[in-house]
């Protein structure tokens, strides 16, 4: 971009298209229209100042709908970061949670968060479909980040992998006549059978690498992990199975860095400021005799949440008042 700046050659349309700034402007206007009355008093300029400040410091995804938090790479990274900041205390306590429990935590931040994403993330951590299998926070977080940030890529990758397992060439275009759809369906049924037999064997890593490369050509570069990382992983053994490929991607430090939402794995659970805050809280609890919530994850959670969103703007506050169902009561009480 320094080059661009020196030549001054980027046309305005191109510049605007390269950024997601028009998306945020239109969302800001939609938000403004939804809460006309409050913002007329608050001041429209201040509303836009608040809106873009919160986009800048990644708090804008709090309590927003799933379609919003996945709309841009920045939103995705912001949501991963918010999730981490809100719940890392769980990781520190060493508590293990199931996929459904993680989903509940996610729904506190995004009310319509779909279970499929959580399920897929859990499948990266533990093989198979065990929704009640317990996972550590950092394992889940790494897998969740990969799944959430690259969901479209991973969906396409799974399709390719299954085609390869079934011995099909994954890049052939199938014209969907009714006959071929039937064939496809029966083939899919076969796949699941064969998959069970072949999962451990995996597919030829070199072929998969070629397919992955072709897939990257079709996807915008921010929406797939870096080619060189994937190539490196796929070069390590002649055959690879889907699960272990995803595991390696989830644990890859350079992919983590390029997403830019989380610190390196060693520092995931280090947070002196929060520790102090919690120590203070625990000291208070142990002084007051009526309290019974000490040590429970939920007690800690409330505090963690209060801490995590100091700059929550009035829009968010309002939103919680409106949608005061069971899940937001928790955060509501933390307001006080």
């Amino acid at each position: 971009s320094r080059m661009n700046r020196l030549t001054g050659a980027v046309p305005a349309e191109q510049y605007l298209a390269d950024t997601n700034v028009l998306f945020y402007l239109s969302d800001a206007v939609t938000q403004l229209l939804e809460h006309k009355v409050e913002y007329t008093q608050f001041g429209v300029i201040r509303f836009f100042a608040e809106y873009f400040s919160s986009v800048k410091n990644s708090n804008h995804v709090l309590f927003r709908e799933f379609s919003y938090i996945t709309a841009t790479p920045h939103n995705r990274a912001s949501f991963v970061r918010v999730f981490w900041r809100c719940y890392r205390q769980i990781g520190k306590s060493g508590e293990l949670l199931s996929a459904l429990e993680y989903r509940s935590l996610l729904q506190l931040l995004c009310p319509d968060f779909p279970v499929e994403v959580v399920q897929n993330a859990a499948r990266i951590v533990v093989m198979g479909d065990a929704l009640d299998c317990l996972m550590s926070f950092s394992d889940f977080l790494c897998a969740f980040q990969l799944q959430f940030f690259y969901q479209e890529f991973l969906d396409a990758l799974l399709q390719i992998y299954q085609d390869l397992l079934a011995g099909k060439s994954p890049n052939t275009v199938i014209v969907p006549t009714s006959a071929s759809v039937e064939q496809l369906l029966s083939a899919a049924a076969d796949d699941t059978e064969r998959e069970k037999q072949q999962t451990d064997g995996g597919v030829d890593a070199c072929t998969l690498a070629q397919c992955v490369d072709a897939l990257c050509d079709r996807i915008k570069h921010r929406y797939h992990p870096s080619r060189s990382c994937m190539r490196e992983i796929l070069q390590q053994s002649p055959r690879i199975c889907y699960h272990s490929f995803l595991m390696s991607l989830a644990k890859d430090e350079s992919i983590n860095q390029s997403i830019g939402a989380l610190p390196c794995k060693a520092e995931l659970l280090i947070d002196p400021e929060m520790d102090q805050e919690l120590d203070k809280l625990i000291a208070q609890i142990s002084v007051s005799p009526g309290s019974n919530s000490s040590g429970s994850a939920v007690g800690a959670l409330k505090e963690v949440q209060r801490k995590a969103s100091p700059r929550r703007n009035i829009h968010h506050r309002r939103k919680m008042e409106v949608e005061s169902d069971g899940s937001t009561e928790e955060t509501d009480s933390s307001e006080n």
Binding site: S1, N4, R5, L6, G8, V10, A12, Y15, L16, T19, V21, Y24, L25, S26, V29, T30, L32, L33, E34, K36, T40, G43, V44, I45, R46, F48, A49, Y51, F52, S53, V55, K56, E65, S67, H74, D112
Partner: protein, 325 residues
């Protein structure tokens, strides 16, 4: 969710039936009434003009600045005579904010912003409500030069303070920028004309870039595990830098001679361009690596630390800056 979709659709497509249409109408009316269209248009124009690399951060700063302007002009009405110093500081902050908007390589955007900043500082008398209003509307790019509006010019003290801030915000340590500021310095009571102001601001902006590059250059030369970089290497790099600076400087003096003898301006700029190219060849990676390789075999022994390197590089730059007045 569904409701939201509806509203979003209502904003964009005009023709709709009954309920939705009236909703869209009232939305549009609301936006017009609140001046949202102009507000956003102003913001987008500013952003596109600056081609900021961080558009979200740019918009956040932009709207925060606008709202602080709105706040201060609203609140300032009560105690106008009160705190002149604080007002001056506010004007300075706002002027600096304008100067930060566009990189100096976007010459026309940068020049516009320098003009806005100059006007702001020039009018920073306690009753200078007019500059607030003009700035608040976001229409800075079409304003005519207003240097003659109240005759004076920016006070020397304010000018010097602005340059200091620019350098320190640009990541230049105070002791490195001090010799430069000494050359650009104006006396507190002097009235600084626009040209001098612009030249000073531009010099500080370029200097900040230059020092950052010099710091990076040192980091390249030095390998952290071996402690400070070798004196020989540093000297050869600095030598190349000096050579390049003198080449491009030669261009400036040549050009002013040419300009005096009425040579076609196109030719002048060609000569300039050629000298800049020559200068940049002298600091090209290839040339540098040759110089460094030569230095490694037969240079003086010893080391040079980052600060010494920075000072030496700064001095090369500063000797080419003319003393003001």
């Amino acid at each position: 969710m569904a409701d939201k979709e509806k509203r979003r659709a209502g904003v964009t497509s005009p023709a709709m039936s009954g309920d939705k249409a009236s909703k869209a109408d009232s939305d549009r009316e609301f936006l017009t009434q609140m001046g949202v269209g102009e507000l956003l248009l102003g913001a987008i124009l500013k952003m596109v003009e600056a081609r900021s690399e961080d558009p979200i951060g740019f918009l956040a700063d932009h709207f925060c600045n606008l709202s602080s302007v709105a706040d201060s002009s609203g609140a300032g009405g009560g105690g106008a005579g009160g705190d002149e110093e604080q007002r001056e500081q506010q004007h300075l902050n706002r002027a600096l904010w304008h100067l930060r908007l566009a990189h100096h390589s976007h010459r026309s955007a940068f020049s516009n912003n320098v003009r806005v900043a100059y006007d702001l500082l020039n009018h920073s008398d306690p009753h200078g409500r007019s500059s607030d209003a003009a700035e608040g509307s976001g229409g800075s790019c079409t304003r005519p030069p207003t240097a003659a509006r109240d005759g004076g010019g920016v006070r020397g003290g304010v000018y010097t303070q602005a340059l200091q801030c620019l350098c320190s915000e640009g990541g230049v340590p105070a002791d490195t920028s001090a010799p430069l500021l000494h050359r650009l310095h104006c006396l507190d009571h002097e009235a600084v004309p626009f040209d001098v102001f612009r030249q000073g601001v531009l010099t500080c902006a370029v200097f900040s870039d230059y020092i950052r590059q010099a710091q990076k250059l040192y980091a390249e030369v030095c390998s952290p595990e071996e402690g400070p970089a070798s004196l020989a290497l540093c000297q050869s790099v600095l030598g190349s830098l000096k050579d390049a600076l003198e080449t491009s400087q030669g261009c400036l003096t040549n050009c002013s001679v040419n300009a005096n003898t009425n040579v076609h301006p196109c030719l002048v700029s060609n000569v300039k361009a050629i000298r800049y190219l020559e200068a940049s060849v002298k600091v090209s990676p290839h040339q540098l690596s040759q110089a460094m390789a030569a230095a490694q075999t037969r240079g003086p022994a010893g080391h040079m630390d980052a600060k010494e390197f920075e000072n030496a590089a700064a001095e090369l730059f500063i000797t080419h800056v003319k003393v003001v007045s």
